[in-house]
Amino acid sequence: MFVLEGQGVTKYFGGLAAVSDVDFHVDQGEIVGLIGPNGAGKTTLFGLISAALVPNSGTIRFKGENITGLRPHQICKKGLARTFQSVKVFSDMPVINNVVLGVHFGTSERVKAAQAANEADRLLEFVGLSGRAMVPAKDLTLVNQKLLEVARALATKPEVLLLDEIMAGLNSTEITQAMELVSKIRAQGITIFMIEHVMKAIMSVCDRIMVLDHGKKIAEGTPQEIATSKMVVEVYLGE
């Protein structure tokens, strides 16, 4: 049984199939990459998994349970968290409160205020935002806002984490740090499904890569297989 899988997942917007009959699976402990040209349907697929969107057809299973039709907060409580391509931090509140919210509401446990604050502190340190706990989230740089989203998602104690282009806009050093963070997260036992355009990161960190184009899955395999696939090079990689 795969921790996360989907069969025949399809989503139409008007007459346009954003995601068309996509099968996918992620095994416990894997880091799976999702790549494809802009507009291929990657973020839409994430939206379907996290229940931000409802599929027109197909099923999605999480830990063997059919989660199609549940609502986002329910899916979060079951152990699936995500970050957003266009960063959605809670701008007017301090960094730490962003994470505290994840601690309080992300699981079905009741947590006391002091405990939540401690947990949030620990998570901020884990992602590298320790000194910034009291800063309003809107005053963070883009990179740090992305880290905050990760910390917030981790606060919900997920078993599967969906990362949507967290490396966009990062320089080389920051990309290396982000890659280390992803590895650290996997070392905690969390399965990762990540959308990325930064090839250096995807190729070195992922166990397996899935390629979408125009809503369809066109390739799947190890990083080596994908890097050498003629079709993928033509459609996406370019060199």
């Binding site: 883009l142 990179v143 282009e165 966009a168 320089n171 080389s172 459609v235 996406y236």
Partner: protein, 234 residues
């Protein structure tokens, strides 16, 4: 063409830029590189009129522009592609691009420019009639660049144009920027992708903590230890 002299900008009480001086000459590609938070977007916002500097000047074609409102600056021939490609969500792709052709001189050449831009970004033609908000993140970026090109600028300022673009598109994007240079458009390029920017640009400035810490010929900068260590992870 563009000259910035001793520019200082504040956000409220906090100073973000210190004594910035730089210039972009006609026909050049000048790159501005630096980490997140170094002040690149602040500098660009000041140049394009969205922020007012506390001291110093910005001149375009020997005319002071730092006290002018943004839309006048566009009429003068400066086009700005914002980071994250801000598009008009409730307008179609085509309408967004028409908005780009708003300055009078650009409006007249509208149809020819449409052809040009669609050739560079065929996907935009595919999605011509779609509402901009239905586009993916990277497509927003494409659209924003297309829109900026529609205004037939003399100087084009790109703020992180490769952000969120697929590798193939990143390659095409930098190719496009080089093509634009060949068509006589002067380019000021702000980028995180230091290697590629330095490869296509003539000169570059390195911004750190709101100050210009390095500048010069790109070939030299690519060899510089500091640049290689700090920005290229080598």
């Amino acid at each position: 063409m563009l000259e910035v002299r001793d520019l200082n900008t504040h956000y409220g009480k906090v100073q973000a830029l210190w004594d910035i001086s730089l210039e972009v000459n006609e026909g050049e590609i000048v790159a501005l590189v630096g980490s997140n938070g170094a002040g690149k977007t602040t500098l660009v916002n000041t140049i394009s009129g969205l922020l007012k500097p506390s001291s110093g000047s910005v001149s375009f074609l020997d005319k002071r522009i730092n006290s002018l409102p943004a839309h006048v600056i566009v009429e003068l021939g400066i086009s700005y592609v914002p980071q994250g490609g801000k598009v008009f969500p409730e307008m179609t792709v085509r309408e967004n691009m028409e908005m780009g052709a708003y300055p009078i001189r650009a409006w007249k050449q509208k149809d020819a420019t449409f052809e040009q831009v669609y050739r560079i970004f065929p996907r935009l033609k595919e999605r011509e009639k779609q509402l901009a908000r239905t586009l993916s993140g990277g497509e927003h970026q494409m659209l924003a660049i297309g829109r900026a090109l529609m205004s037939k600028p003399m100087l084009c300022i790109f703020d992180e144009p490769s952000y969120g673009l697929a590798p193939l598109l990143v390659k095409e994007m930098f190719q496009t920027i080089q093509n634009l240079k060949e068509q006589g458009i002067t380019i000021f390029l702000i980028e995180q992708n230091v290697r590629r920017s330095l490869e296509i640009a003539d000169r570059a400035y390195v911004l750190e903590n709101g100050r210009v810490c390095l500048q010069g010929d790109c070939v030299e900068l690519l060899q510089s230890d500091h640049v290689r260590k700090a920005y290229m992870g080598l």
